[in-house]
């Protein structure tokens, strides 16, 4: 009897490991940032762009603004491009093209982010620099635009694979009946397929956004990392993950600096969790 109960308890406890782990991470970040937040004004932390750790000035504006800027610009690229490619592959391409492309996406999503960063450094940064010069903007090429392009290519295979699997869940006979009403194929996609899959598409967009905003290495290698508030896409920026990666190891001796970085990690985690929350809501209602 006793052992039975013990076994049950153990199993329950063990099964709850993901729950404990999540809360351990969440509360570790929360409490470390609470320490840091004591005696500081939150509005100033968020809206000031003064960043002088040695004096104790921590204005996070440049960092979260950079993060959103880079993510939003890459979303402007990967959402339309991803949707167009997924529709093409699931509704227009023949089986031969599908059979070639699908493994290709698998390989691409298995490639480490430093490799994407290296590619951005080798190809995209010089390209953006030349483009800037052509347009009469002086830029080193290390910029928000470069980071967005690299991020888009990283996120696209993920997003396309998700969208295709969602489109394929729509019964073939529904597509047939829309076509039989005299719709062109694109009208079928636009008026029925996309509305039908709306929630799944939103879910995959937010999952991709979560990946994009948390991506560290690839972005860091091409974004320039300067402490200025970026204006145009050709300006360098300093997103939160890059800030953490660059500064966390070195500034451990100044405890308020460590606190500041933990606070930024908390913010980053919170943003990603909000994206995930939206994803879950959208997805659960879909199915």
């Amino acid at each position: 009897m006793f052992f039975q109960a013990l076994k049950k308890f153990f199993i329950k406890f063990y099964t709850l490991i993901p729950f404990f782990l999540f809360f351990l991470i969440f509360f570790y970040l929360l409490f470390s940032s609470l320490d840091f937040l004591k005696g500081r004004s939150l509005t100033e932390l968020i809206f000031s762009s003064q960043w002088k750790p040695l004096k104790g000035d921590f204005g996070f504006f440049p960092f979260w603004f950079s993060s959103f800027y880079v993510t939003a610009l890459s979303a402007l690229i990967f959402i339309p491009v991803g949707l167009l490619i997924s529709v093409y592959i699931s509704e227009y391409a023949n089986r031969r093209i599908k059979d070639i492309l699908k493994p290709f996406f698998d390989v691409l999503s298995a490639i480490p982010s430093v490799v994407f960063g290296l590619w951005g450094f080798t190809v995209i940064v010089p390209f953006v620099s030349r483009m800037g010069n052509f347009l009469g903007i002086s830029t080193s090429g290390y910029s928000i635009l470069s980071a967005s392009i690299v991020l888009s290519l990283m996120v696209l295979p993920f997003m396309i694979t998700l969208c295709i699997s969602i489109f394929e869940m729509v019964p073939f006979s529904l597509k047939e009946s829309v076509l039989s009403l005299g719709a062109t194929r694109f009208e079928m996609v636009e008026k029925v397929l996309i509305p039908q899959c709306k929630k799944g598409i939103i879910a995959s967009i937010f999952l991709s956004l979560g990946r994009a905003i948390g991506e560290t290495m690839a972005v860091m290698m091409v974004v320039g990392c300067t402490f200025k508030v970026p204006k145009t896409p050709f300006d360098p920026a300093y997103p939160i993950p890059a800030l953490i990666a660059n500064e966390f190891g070195e500034m451990m001796s100044i405890s308020s600096y460590k606190g500041a970085l933990l606070f930024s990690a908390f913010l980053l985690n919170l943003i990603v969790l909000i994206f995930h929350f939206i994803f879950r809501k959208a997805f659960l209602r879909n199915s």
Binding site: Y14, L24, W119, L153, T184, F186, T216, F248
Partner: protein, 277 residues
């Protein structure tokens, strides 16, 4: 006619998007291949960095390759051993509300960026009284891989047909026997590909081990000393003004790409075998 034109316009846009996407990936592979291949010599792959390695002296990245293999395989093994019983409990023992509750948190863990795991791993490392070392790197990477592998195992269990469950229970097997004898056999190939994919993720992840695994020129002999790894070789060497040195970043990247290609080919083979039957 208006409608047909619209159709054609959008098909054109689709083809254009696909073309740009393929062009960019093509440039990814070729740029790294051509820069890396000239540095990818026998010496590069199979020797230690010699003195003056970072100034363009000789030697190779063998310790990083070994370091990465050790980091990735141990963390994948730990994560797998932790998540296998967990996935069995989730899918076989618990009532569905409870399992879905746990699944929520697996998904949330899965979404946490690897840089945050890096910070958390650093905290655990300090807590355990460790320094940046192979062990700390393995622990941190295990956190990264854990939700990944747990999620795919859970999916595999959920895809086991219900009829198999009924059949094995009607044979008089206990739930535990069913789990071990029937289910594990049924999902074995899928499990192998889940392990491979997690291994691939672990070997390429760099943000998480940035603060925990350290950096070294030596082979990972001790759990408590820093280790070298392929992604960090790329990260620390790529921007060197010396072309001899930055070339090593390309060589290391090429090895990482080769691993990624190899893993996806193998796991696709395994996948085909499952669906082929």
């Amino acid at each position: 006619m208006e409608r047909i034109k619209r159709e054609k316009l959008f098909v054109l846009l689709m083809k254009l998007s696909l073309a740009i996407f393929l062009l960019l990936t093509f440039s990814l592979f070729t740029s790294i291949f051509f820069k890396g291949i000239s540095f990818l010599s026998f010496e590069m792959v199979f020797s230690k960095p010699s003195r003056g390695f970072y100034m363009g002296g000789g030697g190779g990245i063998f310790p990083s390759i070994i370091g990465s293999l050790v980091l990735a395989s141990s963390s994948t093994a730990i994560a797998f051993l932790l998540s296998l019983p967990l996935s069995i409990f989730i899918s076989l023992y618990s009532r569905s509300t409870f399992s879905n509750f746990v699944r929520n948190f697996v998904d949330l863990l899965w979404g946490i960026p690897s840089i945050v795991y890096g910070i958390f791993g650093f905290f655990i490392m300090i807590y355990l009284g460790l320094k940046a070392s192979l062990l700390a790197g393995i622990i941190t990477l295990s956190f990264v891989v854990f939700p990944l592998i747990l999620r795919s195992l859970d999916e595999l269990f959920q895809n086991v047909p219900f009829s198999l469950k009924e059949a094995s229970l009607s044979l008089g097997l206990s739930k535990f026997q069913m789990a071990v004898k029937v289910f594990l056999k049924a999902i074995a190939p899928g499990m192998l590909s889940a392990i491979l994919i997690s291994f691939g993720r672990a070997i390429g992840d760099s943000a998480s081990i940035l603060f925990t695994a350290g950096f070294s020129d030596n082979f990972p002999i001790s759990l408590f000393s820093p280790t070298s790894s392929l992604p960090l070789v790329v990260f620390y060497l790529y921007s060197s003004p010396d072309e001899e040195v930055s070339g090593r970043a390309y060589a290391a990247s090429l090895i990482l790409i080769a691993i990624a290609v190899f893993i996806s080919i193998i796991s696709r083979r395994i996948g085909k075998r499952i669906y082929g039957k």
